[in-house]
């Protein structure tokens, strides 16, 4: 049975993870996402569903706990914010290399370095292009509401197990901290050991007499085998690109121009569309929901309909590179961004559209 609640984005994510039947959360405090672990601890997850919630000694330890738990076929997750996600990159690379399912929430804050605790989208490259060492991809989901913070916990696990791949929910400080109403799914039971052995026969659950031992590793010292492993990974990523693209279009039907934006920026653009309409400018919004796989085809198709595209991001221009690759120079593509924890105002966005796309 669904339940309606008023919650912070971070809390909604935590509650949805419990309801998705998560087995374990491992985290380390960092602003602006500490509510995730605080909520789980307050909920006494161990009593509620048997889910383990553990505060690790570092983000490094937390992601490696996720690696260990995921190796057992368990539904495990972690959350952090930008500097902490940088620390997790080593573990994420091992998780991707060993093809393990898990969900990682990044409530992005401004950088570089310690940066600021205010919202930002400057981890787009890190999330979508790899982040750690080696050729790998995470599936990246970008929520733009508290509802999607909740939805993507469950969807994240679904995709992670479907592809044996880490899933990152790339949120930001605004989505994580703001309160909205959210409709929560009913509690799913956690899987039993028998179900785990059946669903994930590769998991390290103890070598029984009826099977060979299971080994979780990202290592192969034979280059030919390592290349083969890499080819299989790339084939998996191609399959994900084929099947898992998700995006939303708002007011694009008869638009002359388009915004392309994700997360908080997409929310700002929705207001900018209204302001532009008051000035007689017809502009729509294309909101990628999956950042990897990036909705290349949908963006390419937009070049047939609009005269120009303004990519709005809370960074110096990161997703715009994917938009430029998809549009192949067929229409004008410009970027408008604020950095360092500043959220652009809808008025600024409309002005940028007029200056950079319509008038430029």
């Amino acid at each position: 049975m669904k339940e309606l609640k008023l919650m912070k984005g971070n809390e909604a994510f935590a509650e949805a993870a419990i309801r998705a039947g998560a087995d374990g959360y491992f985290g380390y405090p960092i602003t602006p996402q500490s509510e995730v672990m605080e909520y789980l601890m307050a909920e006494k997850t161990h009593e509620r569903t048997g889910m383990i919630t553990l505060q690790a000694e570092s983000e490094v330890a937390a992601i490696n706990m996720v690696y260990g738990g995921a190796s057992c076929g368990k539904k495990v997750l972690t959350s952090s914010s930008s500097p902490g996600i940088s620390l997790k990159q080593e573990g994420i690379s091992y998780i991707a290399g060993s093809e393990l399912p898990c969900v990682i929430l990044n409530v992005v804050r401004g950088g570089p370095g310690l940066g600021t605790i205010q919202p930002s989208q400057s981890d787009y490259f890190q999330a979508t292009k790899g982040g750690g060492h080696g050729d790998y991809r995470m599936i990246v989901l970008a929520p733009s509401s508290v509802q999607e913070m909740a939805d993507f916990a469950g969807l994240g696990f679904e995709l992670a197990f479907k592809y044996r791949n880490p899933v990152m929910v790339l949120s930001d400080g605004a989505i994580g901290q703001m309160m909205e109403k959210v409709e929560l799914d009913a509690q799913k039971p956690r899987l039993t050991e028998e179900e785990i052995i059946k669903n994930t026969p590769w998991a390290t659950t103890g070598k029984t007499k009826d099977r060979e031992r299971n080994i979780i590793t990202s290592l192969d010292l034979e280059s030919s085998k390592m290349e083969r492993h890499n080819i299989l990974l790339q084939e998996k990523y191609a399959k994900i690109e084929e099947a898992e693209v998700r995006y939303e279009k708002i007011g694009c039907e008869d638009a002359d121009y388009a915004f392309i934006a994700f997360g908080t920026s997409a929310r700002i653009c929705q207001k900018a569309i209204e302001l532009a309409a008051e000035q007689g400018i017809k502009v729509g919004l294309m909101r990628p929901i999956t950042l990897f796989p990036f909705p290349k085809k949908a963006v390419a198709q937009m070049t047939e309909k609009v005269k120009g595209i303004l990519v709005v991001e809370m960074n110096a221009g990161q997703m715009i590179e994917d938009v430029q690759l998809a549009t192949q120079g067929r229409v004008k593509v410009e970027h408008f961004g604020r950095m360092g924890g500043i959220i652009p105002s809808p008025i600024e966005v409309v002005e940028a559209l007029k200056q950079k796309i319509i008038g430029g």
Binding site: G24, V60, A61, T204
Partner: protein, 259 residues
């Protein structure tokens, strides 16, 4: 990889007084001849066999010489990032409390890059077994200075000997973790003689029995040799170990909490 096989023409059934445990795979060990890792592997696997817990045990392999431990141990295993094995083991044990979990780590892995994971897993008193093989050198990467390299000892990154003023003193991490309330059993063993092997095996058995009784964290250091890294014959390296390593790393139980 080459496979280990018993030659049936030489070893007649009536002459068989020792059998390699089935919990070691037939693969020939990748360790240098003379290295203590093989013996350490064997005694752990023999204990698991004797306790009949192969189907309930998950081992965590480190980065270093024993990175390929999962090739030789016939149990479910996970290969951790450098130093992170205790973090993996923590999660595995918390998520599957009825299983037996152990890490197998070297000195660089456990006492340098993984210091935080080691100390905090010990401090939380995770109900796991940590096996720490200390040979005072980075063997896998070619003989660099380790946190446990002795003062004055030469390595490829301390070619004039470890200068404690600029390179620090060797870390007795085993004594350090013995200070933590989370550890229940902390001991230092060796595998260079038959009697040392018997003692070490007894310690390993005790550690897994502790885990069975949910007593807390058992930490076993095995002081071992690295004849390649130390640039000695296997025999000479064992003599050198007894003369130089044992005075700094004395063998025996450091903490036995019987409660």
């Amino acid at each position: 990889m080459a496979e280990f096989k018993t030659n049936p023409e030489i070893v007649q059934p009536e002459n068989l007084v020792y059998k390699r445990t089935d919990l070691l795979t037939p693969k020939a060990l990748s360790y240098c001849p003379g290295c203590g890792h093989g013996t350490a592997h064997r005694i752990i696997m023999e204990v698991l066999e004797e306790m009949d817990i192969q189907d309930k045990t998950i081992g965590i392999a480190p980065v270093g010489c024993s990175v390929l431990a999962y090739e030789f141990m016939n149990i479910d295993m996970q290969q951790a990032a450098h130093g992170r094995a205790p973090a993996l083991a923590t999660a595995v044990k918390r998520l599957m409390p009825d299983k037996f979990i152990f890490t197998y780590q070297g000195d660089g892995d456990l006492a340098a890059i993984g210091t935080a994971e080691t100390i905090h897993a010990c401090n939380r008193g995770e109900n796991i077994v940590i096996i720490f093989v200390n040979n005072g050198i980075y063997g896998m990467t070619g003989g660099q200075m380790a946190p446990t390299t002795l003062p004055g000892m030469k390595s490829s990154t301390s070619p004039y000997g470890r200068d404690v003023h600029t390179m620090g003193n060797p870390l007795r991490i085993t004594e350090l973790v013995a200070q933590l309330p989370g550890t229940i059993y902390v001991t230092r063993q060796a595998v260079h003689t038959p009697s040392a092997v018997r003692k070490a095996k007894k310690a390993v058995r005790k550690a897994f029995e502790n885990q069975k009784l949910n007593k807390g964290l058992s930490f076993i250091e095995i002081v071992s040799n690295c004849n390649s890294g130390w640039k000695m014959t296997p025999l000479k390296s064992n003599e050198w170990m007894v003369e130089n390593m044992f005075p700094y790393y004395p063998l025996g139980d450091i903490k036995v909490n019987e409660e």
